[in-house]
Subunit: 252 residues, 8 copies
């Protein structure tokens, strides 16, 4: 404790870093950042950008970078991204910015990315499932898991699905995203012995549109699946990371 | 007209038959019976037994037999069936009674069943889809269409589905019934060039149970399907008959 | 196979055409295009434009034209259409572009349209049903089916409906689109012996607005109907094509 | 006031009658009875039997008879009816009991029924709509309105509807009850210039079953209708009475 | 008939007017206009502007003016109104244009407005109910009914309601519009003997917002009410007109 | 701690009592009983009987009596009550059993009931609201709060409501239960300056029946209310107790 | 009365002030203002700005200031705020304007704010709950209650919640706002003996998003809570004020 | 193949066993049994008893025992269990029958149960979650996974939850079942680094009762969870088995 306070006193530790070490979270202008989530939960804290101002995004990213040397942001809009990029360019010019559709990772130059010896497969039914799959992908990569992504294998043309079966079987955990009727996770899970996490996508229209049909199809599936909320790519990715970590630990 | 009334007068035509000929429907104690439906619509009128008393069932069957020489009843309960059977045994002892789960056909001895030169395939996902498929089957048989029924080919074990593909391709029209996530019609319709009518089944539990998930899956299907209401086996069968009749007419 | 690869080698076949011939689908930048759908399913693949970028639209249309000599696009927005038109003008200046409300067909100069000896009737309840009916119409025309479209015959003024009955009876299959309470398909299907496919339209407001009342009315109909999802003009048209093809085959 | 209390004192007025005259309602064991409803509202208070015990039914009927010389009960079950009948037989043996499906009227011997110079038409789509129509009928008869009831004219066989048009046009107000898709009030209201009150019936099954499809169809109707809740035969009848009273008053 | 065609030939009758007289409806570019609705139904046809283009609005108004000398338009947007105004200014400069929130009446100079000897009361709970009440008001005025409108008497401050009771009692029919919990029609209908038509308004937020709470409150009301769809001011007004006409006829 | 264990050893304290003192809860066969709830939360733990077996009810009541000298049970069925009564008669013959519709309190002879110097008013709209109001009443009495219950003052006959206003104003907190449209809490809360807790009742039928209309009406209320779940009489009572305790504490 | 009219006559009282004193409400251009709400109900009337024009906002604020010397406005948009600010700057330049996210209080220079001797705690789960909490805060401050606000203590990182427990226990009443799954009020209410009012927030996405999951979680809570509608910060604040007033009265 | 048929011929293999080996499934009277599920999917096929007749249950169990030497049945009713027990007692008297609430395992005497070196923790919120947890437990035990079950730790008394944290942390995968507001999985998942599968339980009443509130709470959870359908104990158990198998494989 004494040490910590001395480090703050001599400037080698910022107050935020000290608070993070003591409390596990940091109280900033835009809310408390759960800096200890990685240790406690095994998945890093991400910043959910939807509905926040550009200033709040920058403030939260700043805290994340200060305390964990990286920041992971999901559902970021173009103006939010520009504000973030400007901030990073000015303050940490050597940082790496990785953008995947609406998901962004920022890594400080001295950030040492983790590595987990396990593979997550991510499959999508069609083009429209891309941004959500990218969210899942980003959280997996951020945690150091190996990724294999297989796109556009919806069951309307079943041979597209069956052609990719071997790749799907190679993964330790599978994330399968699909909209409309959401039948892809059911068909895949009936053919592999890998745990499958279904992600309903908010596509479709009319009755049970916006992902409700896909959610219904996955919860009612005759095969064995677990499911996350509609478009919850981050949650699916983080759950896959938790499983992958356990597998990797067993491998050691 | 004169002729008709004379026939009533001399007893060779009952008042109900005369009314049916003149109006197209007959007014009985338990409601009006649409005796002319077969001519006007191409599908025979059926008696929906659910929610009616045994007496009403008998009265409606009586009118149907008197005016069309046969009666088709759906969703019949055991006590309703017993009342019907007693009535038929007493009044038309030579009649044929055909029972298929909860669907019943009664045919007078002089009834000449129609015949339509077309084939309807009926596929089900599992055991629980039986009574609804039987309803569709009965209306097809009643109209004289050839039937091929393929049971228990749900997509959870995809090879069961694929093994039956050739039989499914042989039909002129396909009725595909499935509960839970209702993915079977989508997978089938993606592999054949036959029109497919999906029938959602009120199985399943929890979120979107009682057939809502299946209905959602069929309406949101990425392939080409048309759909009837949950458990509407009669409607699916009658729609298949209408299509089969047109095909048969073209064959002549 | 050897032949095919030689054709690719000497440039008489593009790689996309070769992939289409081998796999049945083509993997492009904007997803896989199901080039073999026409053969396998009897209905051509259409490009659902909603929610895609103008670039994705052009890329998908390019693949469609390259492998099937035509492209059918539904729910296209004005900017998407402009991008498509520019692309076609530049690369296939002799192509024919046919626009029907929000549906577009592009046909290469050497495209030989199919022809099916069967007639589909398309009826609408009111002005607002137009774009969805146009979608159904386009897929029928694309498949070579004869069309008779009868507009604005909603049941609020019943004589408008009854006046058109003979035209409706002449079709082999009927598509009937209606919003609000969706009673038109029920009234029509009670008066003709043609199979009727109901299309609920997302009009209406308040309770059960946006097509839910119309969907409910069609699924609960006392007559015989099959139904597609709200606004699913393409699906209704394609289902009518599948039926029409079977009828035409029987006519041969 | 003095007079009233003296009448109570000498037994020519019961305490309940006195309370009714003073307060407009009577406080009994099974709740307060709105004895003044007839004067204040123009429709008599009815006892909604569903969910009450037989004892509560008898107690409420007793208060109604004591203060208004008649009792109107809706949704009465067989055991409730038996308890009521026993009570009436014992205490007011000369009373008249009128039972119409699940609706019952009890009239004391000295009850002078009102009479209103106006006619309400009640139409139903099918057999299953009977008990709700009977509820509407009972409240109209109780108020002294003339009734014309036309059953089983659902639109699936449109000629049944059109054949009864003249009778429907003769009423001052129309109550039209229909289940399933609930299209009958729309078709009728499009053809007459009488105000139509639609009553959705809790028939139907699957999606929007139990009257929700019928309610949706009536609220979304393209014609002019007002609507009551599903199965609310009493409310429809009472609303018709209010309109009929105003018309009759104008006739005087 | 001959006469009619001669009138068309010599130009004293437009083709639209002739069609209206023969068929009861007119087929224009923007749909069929139900010109005979007034005679057949007792309420004039209105043009529902929502979701139509300005051109379609003008075309429909033109037909309405040509065949009935007036036009009633509901849910009109500012640009639609401007287009309409320009058209009227150019072609019928002497016409009267009456605008009431989002409802507009156009009357040709030679239009003779009808008059009905009956009074409709229109009450609202708050400011936000204004546009819907104006719609009801316009259709009543168009039909020649006398109107008394009482605003802002919601039950949250009950004395505001009770203070206006006498005015409400004076009407022959009452239209009561309310949003949020929709309790106003219930409280009013419990205190008057006039028929009350409830109009739920799409205000409110959160659970059962957008008028669903108000619709629920009115359909579940313990008093006697009939109801129209959420925001259906036109339907409520037209239903009140139908009742008012019957009353006025009885008064004659 | 030592003392406690010695008390267990010499039998003056049961293991359950000791566990309750140490942990705040007791682990029994039928689950853990939250014996410390009263101290921690200010409201006693109640046993929710619905869905439990008679044996489980007895076991939980036994634990409650052993650790807190009383037991409060809600939603108890007749067979559950009989089992409870037998158990109490056998094991604590001097105990007091208080039954209020479906709610039961058992008090050991040496139980000293608490007393809180504050008054809770409980109002209901009609007879059907009784059992839920009794639940609220029992928890208030169990906590020692004074109760004033006013029944059957629904707004359909507004004078019944207004007549009781003074009594309602006398309470420190008001619980107002109402089914159907649930307008009573709104009308009451608009007239008093007491905090009102609304309890929607699962009465009503058709659209928004089973309490949904009442819940909607209370959440959308234009006045100031807080609400509990449908039929949650216990929760309303306990919340009133928490408020009453704070008021009583301030009074001291 | 005479006095009042003389005061109007000599200008020392405006007509609005006189109407307010006589009727309890003022009839202005933008509706009736419930000026007596404070006296009658114990909570001041607030102006709900959503859906009103800037002119209506200014008119209502003018009436509020004229009759109660202050105005409280919720859900105000930037243009509405600008219009209000301009009006105040021009007409009451010495007035105080207090803005808290989307809530605004205007106080005339001679306004004497009330003071209530009781404390309300306001807790939020995350950043997104801010504007609703600010609404609750403003109404409490307006009524003179002491506030302690504790932000960003959602249960995903439980130590953040537990760290603030003592502060939460110090309040007389707690308002707890939370979105997504809405578990915070349950966890807090299980640990304190203060009455808790839960406010569900319209955050979340997919199934049960927009606050429905939070509302469900609070209504289904296993602990004792009362609830207001989604985002109803004003209602929660006003209900807390009503409780606080009773407590403060008891303290005197 | 030849060998297999010879084994059938000489009776050392039943036709069902042969079909299972060849096709992966067996066609029996009560449907096709997916005998190869264990190999293909890693989880054994279970027989879902709900909605099947006792005869169908026995027939399916017979096939399961014949081809896999064991049978796992879920949602079995007492009469179904009795029929099963009779069958087993007669035909395989040495078999072991294990019953866990509504779940049953039957193991033939020569059945060699598998063993997986991984541990699944199963936690429940309350007594009512028992049968669903038992379902999950049975499938885990059937697959050979080690189980630790922790009951009755709902968050209403948070210390009950926190007291069990260490046991929960010891599992490789956690299944957490909870009804009502379903907050337990969220609180647990926020405190451990184990993957958590939430199972919503169909308890609760009123708004979002029957498990919908719990499902909403888990899908909207701010922490990382995956979810199965309401009451889907089997699915949760099987998904945990799939994860446990992968972990155990990595351990080898």
């Amino acid at each position: 404790m004494r040490e910590l306070l001395e480090a703050v006193a001599d400037g080698s530790l910022s107050p935020a870093q000290a608070e993070a070490e003591l409390n596990g979270y940091v109280t900033g202008d835009a809310g408390r950042f759960d800096a200890a989530r990685d240790q406690r939960r095994g998945v890093p804290e991400a910043i959910f950008a939807e509905g926040k101002s550009a200033d709040q995004i920058v403030a939260l990213a700043e805290t994340a970078l200060e305390t964990t040397d990286r920041a992971l942001l999901t559902r970021i809009s173009p103006p939010q991204f520009e504000a973030l990029e400007s901030y990073v360019d000015e303050t940490i010019p050597d940082a790496t910015i990785e953008r995947r559709e609406t998901t962004v990772r920022v890594m400080a130059p001295d950030y040492e990315p983790p590595s987990i010896d396990a593979a997550v497969g991510i499959a999508t039914g069609g083009t429209v499932d891309g941004p959500v799959a990218a969210e899942a992908e980003a959280v997996c990569l951020d945690a150091g898991v190996t990724i294999d992504r297989v796109d556009d294998i919806g069951v309307a043309a079943l041979s597209r699905t069956l052609d990719q079966l071997e790749r799907l079987r190679d993964a330790d955990v599978l994330i399968v995203a699909a909209g409309r009727e959401g039948a892809l996770p059911t068909v895949v899970a009936g053919l592999v012995d890998t745990p499958v996490i279904g992600v309903p996508i908010s596509s479709g229209y009319g009755y049970a549109g916006d992902g409700e049909g896909a959610l219904a199809g996955m919860l009612q599936s005759c095969t064995v699946l677990s499911v996350v909320n509609i478009d919850a790519g981050f949650v699916a990715g983080a759950q896959a990371v938790l499983i992958a970590r356990t597998i990797a630990a067993a491998r050691d």
